[in-house]
Amino acid sequence: MGPMKWVLGAICLCVPMFVMAQNTITGVVKDKAFDEPLPGASVVIKGTATGTTTDFDGNYEIQAALGDILLFSYVGFKSIEIEVDGTAIDVALEEDTAQLDEVVLIGYGSTTKKDATGAVIGVTEEELNKGFIASPQDLLIGKAAGVNITTSGGAPGSGSEIRIRGGASLDASNAPLIIIDDVPLDNSNNPGSRNVFDFINPADISSFTVLKDASATAIYGSRASNGVIIITTKKGVSGDLKFNFGTSASVSSVKEDLDVLSAGQFRDIIQQRYPNRVSELGNASTDWQDEIFKSAVGTDTNFSVRGGIWGIPFRASVGHTEQDGILRTEALQRTTASVNLSPKLFDDKLRIQINARGSYSENNFADTNAIFNAIQFDPTRPVFDAALPGGFFDYYEPNGTPTANTVANPLALLLLRENRSNVRRLVANAKFDYQFHFFPDITATLNLGIDKSNADGVDNQPETLSTQRITQGLFSNYGQDEENKLLDFYLKYTKELEKWNTRFDLTAGYSYQNFFDNQFTSSVRGDGIGGTTIDDIILESNLQSYFGRANLILADKYLFTFTYRRDGSSRFGGDNRWGNFPAAAFAWNVSDENFLKDSKSISNLKLRLGWGVTGQQDVIQGNDTQPYLPQFAPSLNGASVQFGQDANGNPIFVSSLRAQPFDANIKWEETTTYNIGLDFGLFDNVLSGAVELYYRETEDLLSTVNIPIGSNLSNRLPTNIGSLTNQGVEVTLNAKILDREDLTWDLGFNYAYNENTVDQLFLTDNAGGAGIPVAGTLLVGFGGDDGAQYHIIDEPTRSYLVYVQAYNSDGLPIPGTVVDLNGDGFINSLDRRPFQQAAPLVNLGLNSRVNWKNWDMSFSMRASLGNYNYNGIEVQNGTFANVDIGQDLRNVTSATVINGFDDYIDEVTFSDFFVQDASFLRLDNINLGYTFGNVFNDSSRLRVFSTLQNVLVVTDYEGLDPEVPNGIDRNIFPRPFITQLGLSLDF
């Protein structure tokens, strides 16, 4: 502290002083949000060159006359002007989120918002979703234009489907590349873990940066086609130790049940329609959904400390989350810990960032088949029957064997099956930035990272379960070991040529990543038949890259960026091993031109043009890490063949070896993106935002397509075939509707329109109108290739291919009757036509934050338009055929009685009646908080808050929840309504 004051004194001496009724003004400049001093803030008398900066404790001292105006400013904060009317002026500066000096992450470096050329969105901590959030990606839902996140259901900590601009791929992964603190994550989901990100404590996250267009993402080359999300965690700061303790409790409850027939209604239906089966009815009256769902509680506790120890800024945190699902036995317990150290050495020439975060989670997975079984289990049957195995009612023959082709008791599935896992994960990196002492224009960066995880789990289905009666139980163990290593090394040269009014920087580097994943399962039947089946898979791949970037800034107004990446992947062979990914961008800070410089209304205007080529290399099929080589798959236990017998007449078995389909010329997908963006700020950035227009074309799609039969070793082959385009518009608007001392209101709005079209799918050009069925979209029946969704040329991906339902004069569907569309007198598959799409056309987000004195209030809502669901629940359970499809009697939905569908024929299951508009408006969360200052001392604050989540859904959709991954509505874990109460204490 001493030397600092000395330096400040020296600076003061240099400042020319005009002595004119001068007073000595003193005060402290603080950060309004954290109530912490801001060292180095500038204090200047307006209209003069007279000024000073604050010391380490935020103190300043300046000579000024009464009536002078003091201008307080600090990078990243809004400046304040205050008239001198005394001798002590304390100021609290507020962070300026719209600041043009805001740092923007761009991959292997950063730039400022003003100098950025790509389509990049940053979402800071205070803009993120509030509430009881166990999965980091839930923080970002509805916050960024063009980023659509659909949770896979209401299970605690469940994963999500993240789509940036609609997804550039068809069958290959459409998930963006996720980078946490400079470590790119392997996107594959792991057995035993719920979610790729569940090792990150959401409370540790300080911001998300989304790179959307190719000029921003191309530096990540072969993995960048679906966009990049960079997660930045909270870092250490120097100064006194600051602590934060936060805890909250939540109650999750079932929002709505699926409407199925009650016991009484079901009895009536059986009497009417199946009189010869009345004797099979039970005497109970059971609401099966009531039996399997419950209200669930959760707690979340975090503790963090940050500050300097021995001069090293650090932050450490621990967190513990416990959350039960609303489906019985579903539970998540997770403990996380993280450490960040940010030392600076050698006169700050060497800056080091060390991040390590670990998590340990214990999961209990409920058998989600119970949800589906609860919908259809005979409501006249009791839950329990003490005389039967396990004490639950199930269908058994008189000899004690389970009756084949019956639905299993859903509660028994939940309570008797034990499926739990323990997952440990560590992600750590150390990054060294070294500014050359003898050549300060050059910085060298070395980044070493590791991502290690280990999981083990058991899945025990005892013989008391009717489904495992014959096997006498099925007992499995599973596990996983993953280790991904990373090394990045790059040099950056920065130079300013004042003579030419030009700045430029050059970055060039190398990256090495190795991915190792071992997945193991073993299972054994209780009767020992077949012995122990072991499946042990190792996936290993290697990715090495050279990359470079040049930024050229002319006159602070004309910005040029060129990037180039060359990726080599072990997944591809020969000439396809290395791929090149160039990009270029130009931006023009229009508002810096003379004709706008002094504009009162336009405070910022920037035009951006970008072009780039990116890739997608996610081709792993099963354990096929080198798909260009002929691969062989050995058979497991029980899949052998008898070749003769031994001397005693006992058969001899030979295990088998299958040649796998392969494409010697397989390579990455290539996506070319064109982007036009306009950033603007109006009325001193009271209203700011961006408009983006893009066109993105993917060629050589990695898809698993029907190949001409006979041309390869199976009926489908993962290969490069076909192309698709995405084009759209995105609008982001941020408004500071109110900005007063004790009342602020920020409103954020985003809009995204995306149109997706499949251009080609086959080797032939003349297969127009043809499509390929999307796997997993056939819900009824147990054979066949067909499904409700198809990828069809000239249509969006995942279009529905369905019949036109015929209706009677009352507007009710005529069951089994569809329109003979081509008029050939027959109803066959040629009468099915493409109809609507699963993905939304439009996504809208609206976020509001109000601070009034010590109160804060926020809400977040979003809408999705043009997305249609295939209501699989109604297809399967809304048809009378379901009642007697098996040897038991099965319940149907209440709608069945109205619609009258009675058979599982294609004219019913593929009727457009079941393709329903699932556009929706969802109020995701409402949050209210109150902050008490000075709880035990000046710098302690206590915030208490309450959040309501999943408050309201407005939709015409007839199913339980319109938001369904990929539009296939079946067996979804219902999203609960969550009420949360919590407190956060800073001290």
Binding site: T401, L446, G649, L657, L713, L717, G783
Partner: protein, 539 residues
């Protein structure tokens, strides 16, 4: 300042390490998995690869009973080769009823199928899976490839036999396309390396000639009858397939080859096969002991588990009533899934006391009917009808001759008798009647061998033969074994209106159906991706 230099040295060192140390990792072959670069280092791999060609007849993936499927996009359990081949030869015919509404099944049962029917895309993909795997096997065992790998003398001595067996299995797969699709299918051999190209379409006549030449060529390389391991192809299997090819030549290529049929029937008849003394033992868990079976598709409740043809033929014919009627008789306690019952036309083939099907029959082959609570006819539309409509028929049972059950209560040990001697007896007689030569007394003896086994004495023997008797006797002897549709086609009874059975053409009492239905359409899924293909006439 010294430490600064140290840091620079470390940086420099690391960059060298990076640039020169790791690029090899990219070129490393992934040794964790089996690929063409490493799998054949173990010579066991050759016989394991051959085993896959046999496994392809009933299994559907590399995991039992399902898992790691061979074909993508189908429900794996119902994509078994012989199960589907069996289904397409039985479901549209007059022997049995399957009552569940699998996708596409209604059209199969009512002979109203179109090219989009799932059954066709699955069996077609399955047959070509078998062909492609065989082609790869032949490529990987080509002499010059083996030279390059320097394989042992021991393997050298066996490999020609392996290759001949593989070519038999491929010839049989192409033979099945003659039966099902008229042979107008894509044609690929080991000359066509895997890729994504458009295979050329062949014709029935070309394919007939190819299958014939392949079988004649490998006949000499195959192991002699009785000398080979059980479950593997020997000369007997090749002769039987040749006999079948020639018997059906008039259907396939419009040219009778009955003399050639007699020739190869004689080869089989003189090879030492013996009719199983007890008919019922042919379909039991230890039928691998039978000397009548020429080529089986093997199943094992422990080591070869699949949802293949034996799984559905045993569990599908049972319900709890049948099992409770004689709990030890079926060797399964799964409760059955009650799918298959007999059509009246099948019951009517047999002789019953007093001409009443509810009475006993002197023919042991009619002893498998289950009649309690069942009707003999099928008054309701078959799909979705009650299991009690139509007699039960439980010829296949997962018990051994000594009455003890098979190893597993859900997956049977019973092998499927794809080729057996009784069929050759019937083929000889039929080829004789169709003018192929041979002797009438020989034909009569061969038929009466079967009759004596069925009746237990000579009371059922016949003195004269005609074709109408032959097709009925084929129904009685080979009932539910997957022969029926081809038999009806060969006798001109499948299409047209001369011969009807319940629900033929979708009408309760049966109705005439168009002649183009004699062969199935090529699946539309392949027509749309292979411009070289022309659809079968009428579709």
């Amino acid at each position: 300042m010294r430490s600064k230099h140290h840091f620079m040295i470390i940086l420099a060192f690391l960059s060298i390490l990076v640039f020169y140390g790791c690029t090899d990792d990219l070129d490393a072959i992934d040794t964790n998995n089996l690929n063409s670069e490493n799998v054949f280092e173990d010579e066991e791999s050759y016989i394991q690869f051959l085993a896959k060609l046999y496994a392809g007849l009933d299994q559907t993936g590399q995991q039992a009973p399902i898992g790691q499927p061979d074909l993508i996009g189908f429900t794996e359990g119902s994509s078994s080769y012989i199960r589907l081949w069996w289904a397409l030869n039985e479901f549209p015919a007059d022997e049995l009823k399957w009552r569940f509404n699998d996708p596409g099944l209604r059209a199969i049962v009512f002979q109203s199928w179109t090219s989009g029917n799932d059954f066709f895309s699955v069996i077609y993909s399955r047959i070509f899976f078998q062909i492609s795997q065989t082609n790869e096997f032949l490529r990987q065992t080509a002499p010059e490839v083996l030279d390059g790998r320097g394989v042992s003398e021991n393997l050298r001595s066996q490999i020609d036999i392996y290759r001949a067996e593989a070519r038999f299995l491929r010839a049989m797969a192409y033979y099945h396309t003659l039966e099902l699709f008229g042979g107008n299918v894509p044609f690929v051999t080991e000359e066509d390396s895997p890729g994504a190209f458009f295979p050329e379409q062949t014709t029935g006549a070309q394919l007939f000639a190819y299958v014939e030449s392949e079988l004649l060529e490998i006949e000499g390389q195959l192991v002699a009858v009785g000398q080979h391991e059980y479950g593997r192809v020997d000369k007997g299997a090749a002769w039987t397939l040749l006999a079948k090819l020639y018997l059906n030549a008039e259907v396939f290529i419009g040219e009778g080859r009955y003399g050639d049929c007699i020739t190869y029937c004689n080869e089989v008849l003189n090879a030492g096969y013996v009719l199983e003394p007890q008919y019922a033992d042919l379909f039991k868990a230890d039928n691998n002991r039978s000397n009548e079976i020429i080529f089986p598709v093997t199943f094992d409740g422990v080591n070869s588990r699949s949802f293949g043809v034996m799984y559905s033929l045993i569990n599908g014919t049972l319900d709890s009533n049948i099992i409770q009627s004689d709990p030890e008789a079926f060797g399964t306690n799964t409760g059955g899934f009650a799918a298959l019952t007999a059509k009246e036309t099948f019951v009517d083939l047999f002789e019953f006391m007093g001409d009443d099907p509810f009475n006993d029959s002197p023919d042991v082959r009619a002893s498998f009917f289950f009649k309690d609570g069942h009707s003999v006819d099928i008054p309701s539309e078959p799909i979705g009808s009650s299991f009690q409509e139509g007699f039960g028929y439980t010829k296949f049972r997962n018990i051994k001759r000594d009455g003890t059950p098979g190893q597993s209560s859900d997956f049977p040990d019973v092998d499927f008798p794809l080729f057996r001697l009784a069929d050759v007896h019937l083929m000889y007689a039929e080829a004789f009647l169709r003018g192929g030569g041979g002797s009438e007394s020989e034909a009569l003896d061969l038929i009466n061998d079967l009759r004596e086994r069925a009746y237990g004495d000579t009371s059922g023997n016949v003195a004269t033969l005609d074709l109408d008797f032959i097709i009925d006797e084929r129904g009685r002897e080979l009932g539910w074994e997957g022969h029926r549709r081809m038999d009806l086609v060969r006798f001109g009874r499948f299409t047209g209106g001369d011969y009807l059975w319940d629900w033929k053409g979708g009408a309760q009492n049966g109705t005439s159906i168009s002649g183009h239905l004699r062969i199935f359409p090529l699946p539309s899924s392949d027509i749309s991706v292979n411009p070289n293909l022309t659809q079968n006439p009428g579709y």
